[in-house]
């Protein structure tokens, strides 16, 4: 693992922005740091960039102590949420900046810099835009320039801080796939900060979920989606339903209905989590636990049932038009989760 973060802490007032972070990133890997705002993901990224120094802990790259290097000596290209392009320089000048500020001995010739800028403009699909100023470009184009600028220094580490956070949903999805292609072409080790779970799961080789200054779980997208380690991770990765129940031996009992439990599941009072679209609906006398439908809401391609079982408020989502007949507000049906994850209470 070239990038190794060990025991990094960073106090923030009375509490911690980072409270003991351990993380490893493989060579050429695309890792997403996913978490709600205030979870410390941006602080961690800025520590990797050298813009912030941690209070304790170590950060090494291929065994070299990164913390001993200043930001300018790390060769960590960074892309910011609000682009941070140099507004008084043309696109070409922006991209060339990292090469032009090198000490004379290491600076490429003017012709080489021009060639490199052209290459990068082609890579980010902005050929012919070299003479424009940032203000003349759309947000998506500006962010592509920012990426080209960061790649110009041939970084050993590429850091992206919510790079698509300021863009609208459609541009965001386009850029997401484009960024992945650029990554696969350049092969640079990349750490990507986002609070958008869909973006992280769609884009990254591995996802590290952060919460309150710690890494809660790290794994491949399918791994953490299928086997979330904590209720927080389950909840953060998408819409979640929580029902209270009891595990006794090999059975989970929820509102009077029994479901199989695995040997490694906790015993005693538990909360079972399941996704709104991973549920079977049966008529009132079928399998599953009884719920009362409180609302039927048609939303885009799916229909959402808002239900209640005792104190548990639950949501069920079905493809629109595929919903069993006779479901309306006030009727009682039985729900049987197809997949669920059990966590102990307390």
């Amino acid at each position: 693992m070239p990038l190794v973060v060990k025991g990094v802490t960073k106090p923030y007032g009375e509490t911690f922005a980072l409270n003991g972070v351990d993380l490893e990133v493989a060579d050429g890997e695309f890792l997403a740091l996913l978490g709600p705002s205030g979870s410390g993901k941006t602080t961690l990224l800025r520590i990797l960039a050298g813009l912030i120094q941690p209070a304790t802990g170590s950060v090494t790259f291929d065994g070299e102590d990164l913390l001993a290097l200043s930001a300018r000596d790390r060769r960590a290209g960074m892309v910011f949420q609000h682009y941070a392009l140099f507004r008084h320089m043309t696109v070409a000048k922006n991209i060339a900046f990292g090469l032009e500020v090198r000490p004379k001995a290491q600076r490429p010739s003017k012709a080489d810099i021009r060639t490199r800028v052209e290459e990068l403009l082609r890579l980010v699909q902005l050929e012919g835009y070299g003479d424009r100023y940032p203000a003349q470009l759309s947000g998506g184009q500006q962010q592509r320039v920012a990426l080209a600028r960061a790649l110009a220094i041939e970084p050993r580490l590429l850091l992206l801080d919510e790079p698509f956070g300021a863009l609208d949903a459609k541009v965001r999805r386009e850029l997401r796939h484009w960024l992945r292609r650029v990554h696969d072409e350049t092969g640079v080790t990349t750490v990507f900060v986002t609070h958008d779970q869909e973006e992280a799961l769609d884009l990254a080789d591995r996802v590290a979920i952060m919460r309150e200054g710690r890494v809660e779980q790290v794994g491949a997208p399918s791994e953490i989606y299928d086997a979330p380690a904590t209720p927080f991770v389950f909840d953060f990765l998408g819409a979640a339903n929580a029902v209270h129940g009891v595990v006794d031996g090999r059975w989970l009992t929820v509102h009077g209905a029994r479901f199989p439990a695995e040997p490694e599941d906790p015993q005693g009072p538990v909360t079972a989590f399941f996704r709104p679209h991973e549920v079977d609906i049966d008529p009132a006398d079928g399998a599953g636990f009884p719920v009362r439908i409180e609302a039927v809401v048609a939303r885009g391609p799916s229909t959402r049932l808002e239900c209640r079982a005792g104190h548990d408020a639950l949501a069920v989502e079905w493809t629109r038009g595929r919903l069993p007949d006779g479901l309306r507000r006030g009727s009682t049906v039985r729900l049987a989760p197809q997949r669920y994850t059990i966590f102990p209470d307390g």
Binding site: A71, R72, L85, F86, R87, F97, V101, A146, R149
Partner: protein, 284 residues
């Protein structure tokens, strides 16, 4: 961003009552226009010859020279300090930041007379720095150094106050980007920060300069009014007036008024052409 257009867009409430417009016009004419016109009318009361008479006096040229010297020292000092202070305040977090902000504003809130008096007290016979002249042989009070000190104090907030809101708005991301791309501190400042603030800096320097050349109260207290030696142009105007040389006083004053008008002209050119690069408060 464009000044004229947005103002017109907002005048959708209809025409204001004529009486109010007349009242406003009269108010401006009486309080701003009349005194300004008066300066030039009085200056030319005895024709161009009378106007030029005061510029034949060596004391007048000494006063002009002194005004230029004082401004030439005080304004660059405050330009450098203002940029440094704004840079520190907007790009870094440190203890005592709000205290520094308050101190920068102090000269705006203190009466100019006090701003002069503090230097008399500091360098006077029983002041903290009373031994300075004996130790160095440099006369401060009633000499050029005191004029420079008082003027620098008075004009200290202008550049910093102009830059802080703009630099706050711009944030520190561009600098952070420059550093991660391998730029050092000075390179970052000269190639990223300074180009982003150059028009606002010029704007602040312009205002500081107008104030430095026009300052009367603080300078009056520390100058000692020694003719041909420690008189600045505003003080020279006062002396001429007190000696009943009204045409001379107004002729000299017209120079200051002209400077004011020139400042105003450059200021509005800056506001029109570079609105986006001045702080938000200047984009009207």
């Amino acid at each position: 961003m464009n000044a004229g257009a947005s103002n017109q867009d907002q005048s959708l409430v209809g025409r204001p009552p004529k009486a109010l417009v007349a009242l406003g016009a009269a108010y401006m004419a009486l309080l701003v226009l009349a005194p300004l016109v008066m300066v030039f009318v009085e200056a030319f009361r005895k024709g161009p010859g009378g106007f030029l008479e005061v510029f034949a006096l060596s004391d007048t040229w000494a006063a002009i020279r002194m005004t230029l010297i004082v401004a030439a020292i005080a304004v660059p000092l405050n330009a450098v300090f203002g940029v440094a202070a704004a840079w520190a305040i907007t790009k870094f977090q440190f203890k005592g930041k709000s205290l520094l902000l308050t101190l920068i504003d102090l000269p705006f809130s203190v009466s100019p007379v006090i701003s002069g008096l503090v230097w008399v007290l500091l360098f006077g016979a029983s002041g903290w720095f009373s031994g300075f002249e004996a130790a160095t042989g440099i006369r401060v009070l009633f000499a050029t150094p005191a004029l420079v000190l008082a003027t620098t104090f008075i004009t200290l907030p202008f550049v910093a106050r102009e830059l802080i809101p703009l630099m706050q708005e711009q944030g520190a991301d561009e600098e952070a980007a420059a550093v991660t791309l391998g730029a050092g501190g000075w390179t970052t400042f000269f190639r990223v920060t300074l180009p982003n603030i150059k028009w606002a800096l010029l704007y602040g320097v312009l205002l500081a300069n107008a104030r430095a050349m026009g300052e009367f109260g603080a300078v009056s207290v520390v100058s000692g009014h020694i003719r041909g030696k420690t008189n600045t142009l505003p003080l020279h105007v006062e002396i001429l007036y007190n000696e009943y040389d009204f045409v001379g006083a107004f002729a000299a004053a017209s120079l200051l008024a002209g400077l004011g008008l020139l400042t105003l002209l450059i200021k509005s050119v800056l506001e029109r052409r570079f609105a986006g690069e001045l702080s938000a408060s200047r984009r009207h």
